[in-house]
Amino acid sequence: MKRKCIFITMMPLYLIFLSLLLTGTAAADSHSGFIGAETCQECHEEQYASYAKSIHSRKAIKGPASQDACEACHGPGAMHVEKGGGRDVDIFSFDSDASASDKSSKCLECHQKTHDFDVWDMGKHARNEVSCDDCHDMHNNASQKPSQPEVCFDCHRGVRFDVSKRSHHPILEGKVSCSSCHSPHGSISRSMVKTDDPQELCYSCHADKRGPYIYEHPPVEENCMACHLPHGSRHAKLMAQKVPNICQDCHHWSRHPATPYDGESGFTGSGSSNRFFGRSCLNCHGAIHGGNTFENHALTR
């Protein structure tokens, strides 16, 4: 245990030391062939107008306006002008011909040092050719922030269908956004969730479920998604399957857990059963996430 503590203490110091050894210095930029934003504006009036209203045009902050304006992102324009302009003629365009990494690297020149970009390089988006401009509109008068969840749905089609099902988190209602749970700018967690593991993520909102419990329900402690579908489900409470079936797929104990509940088990059937009608198993087993009474391991108290 003591060794473990020493290891935990020393590891950060070691990594800082290592990082200092690995840190290099940035090369000085050459500064030739720049023509200034006024020249760009002469031909690209509409784009300039939107740029002028965006945060990127603000001279008081570090950004394109405090550097080379349009050319901070599109590169020096002298040759482009000399050749009479035209798409991709000696200028960097954020169009489909440019590679995602080239486009993103333009943004990362400034934004690499900002929040959330620590592991951009190893996130699924960067590695699957998603570039910054796929989600952000840099020439937008209003905001450069993408409108969630619509932007995400463009690629994540299945999620669009899940969130509209009868049981869902309030995503379409605007109270939970995709980035409430996921880190679109990179993560090494599965599905790019914000936390180290999905359990921690769920408990960040559902703190009442985190325990510890006297009587645990092991799948709850290991993976919420063993029973729930976080984006949406046709079953109540985001359940992956209907109760009692999802319970009976695991619980085959003697007596009622292994009893078949069929078409006659409803309120009006010949074999009506309180293990089936209404909320079924949950009619009695209310402490399904874990129980804290001292004498009841069946999670009914």
Binding site: P12, L22, I188, Q248, S254, S265, R279, E295
Partner: protein, 680 residues
Amino acid sequence: MKKRFSFCMIASLLIFPSGFAFAEEDVGLRGSVELGGWFNDSEDQSAKFLEYQDPQSGVISHFLLDGYRDAFFFGAEAKNAGRDDQFYKIKGGLYNSFKFSAFYDEIIHNLSFGNRTFYSGAGAGSLIVGPPNPNTPSTWRSFDYTIEKEQYGTDLEFFTGSPFFLQLDVDRVEKDGLKPLGTGSFSGAVELPEPVDYTTDNVMLAGGYRSREMSFKLSGIYSTFSNENDFLEWENPFFPAMDHNSLPQDNDYGKLDARFAWRQLPMMSAWTVRASYANLTNDFSANDFGATIPAGLNTTEFEGDVKTTKFATALTSQPLADLDTKIFFDYYDRENDSTVILYTDGGNDTHLFDYTKYRLGFDAIYKLTSNNKLSGGYTFEDVDRRNRPDASENMDNLFFVKIKNTSLDFMTAEAGYSILFRETDENFDLTGLTPNDAEFIRQFIQRYDTTSKTRNELKFAFEFYPLSKLDLGVEYTYANNDYDDVILGRTDDTGHELYVDFMWRVASFLHLSGFAGYENYESDSNHYNHQAGFAGQTANPTVGDGAPASFLWSQFNEEDFWTVGLAADLPLMRDRLLLSFSGQYQESDGSSDFTTNGGNLLESIEDFEDYSITSLESKATYAVTESLDVTLGYLYGKSNYDDLQYQGYEYDPGGSLLSWAYADYDYEAHVGYFTVKYSF
């Protein structure tokens, strides 16, 4: 409290910008104020309509402000002010120096309306039977299951322009309301209104260093959860006694987290290392519950103590110009040091669950040509569990391959395949057990979340661009889990998903978008009906015990879901009049079939969570002037729900006493609204 808070927030929105003199050059200010009315003809019809919105008719108002002066910036936002789903936010700061925000957010969760109970004291920690009489449900009290969540807090970040940074986030979450709690005894089930009165306080402090080449971050989280009601006392309606149910207990959670990342390493590599340690604790006493202390208990005090240690590292590189690789390793350990509860008869002993999991793997993406990419990878995962003998260890081997082609101007195509092999070890102690003991059955149960299986998944995705202003997407996924060695439990499940969507700018006055989807899901499972040790029945499903009451049966569930949605924007008069229409229809159809070795046939279930939902919205926005918009809108919603478990609903069926929880899914509702928006 809510009104006072709303007032303070609104006042701060108005006061905040007044401190600025806008005569300077690099100054900007814009925003909008929107006021209107909202009329719902179905306020109490069904909780499912507007599940997360305030359903009450009334005034709606929104406010937005964004401004800056040189490097200072500020903003304020208010949505649905004064309603149960209101939201406020203020933000500000000095670019490259610091920024802050404060917010207040309310989320209403309407669970079920029109519920009834014979208890008095709903919402408190003690429920007393009647009056009214439990035997006359028509006289029971009416109430709604609704939970209101209020969240407010502030985020601060310092030194935003320097390599160093410091963040402080503080927030409080309060939940208040009622939700259904199922409980009971062998006498019958009782559905109680469980009081929800939770408070969670969260503090997060983080600091670190960032540059283009590297970054590190050290953070700490402390979170406390408290519940005003540690238990729910309720008078048993079946015989005169007070019963007690445990409710979520107060708990404390703390976490330390360190993250390091290096970039621009040789071969364009990036490397990250992450480690964290978390501790979750609580403590309570059996004496707190007010219930009779059970006999044979080793202790009346419980101290919960769960520690989790996590470590993860990943390295991405480009060893060749066309090759992108990643290797990774994750470690997760859950150590449960909570109090072990023991009984002299052993019946209710606790078996604390904990586990260690590690995962390692690699993947590679290779550009075959400039327009063709091939990727593949492998992941190994091992989970070692204590006190879960049905799955003491499982080992996963996952392989995947994917190819993407972008060579055609009018189409991109992607295909992927993955296969997972899971091997699970069991570790049962069956010493001394015979087939007449209930526990003998354990060796035959394999649970779908952990048991051995082979999973195949196939996916195709296409994007078409047949016209310059038309994008069309198609995606199909097939997934099958074959639980190879299952005797009792789920044996197989298969899913098909097909999605299509499009976006088409038909003309300057007509923009169309739409989607359609179909999902099919099937599952099979095997079960064994028995009562071990009773009338010759045994807990061994592999042999015929000769008892007519014990028999094998199996179930086949099928679910079909489809949906279609269409939206149209018609800017009839440019910058003046915009008409918008959208609609979605979804339908779900399920069924369940049985086969049995028993003496009586089992009836199929046809109404197996069947439902249809129609939602329509139309909206007209007219710009009276450049800064004044008027919007008129209409919403229509209709839902039909049919499920055998809720058909012919009774409050007191066969000795149970229910409350109509989640039985109010049907609705047909109309909402009209108008707003006037002034922008500046």
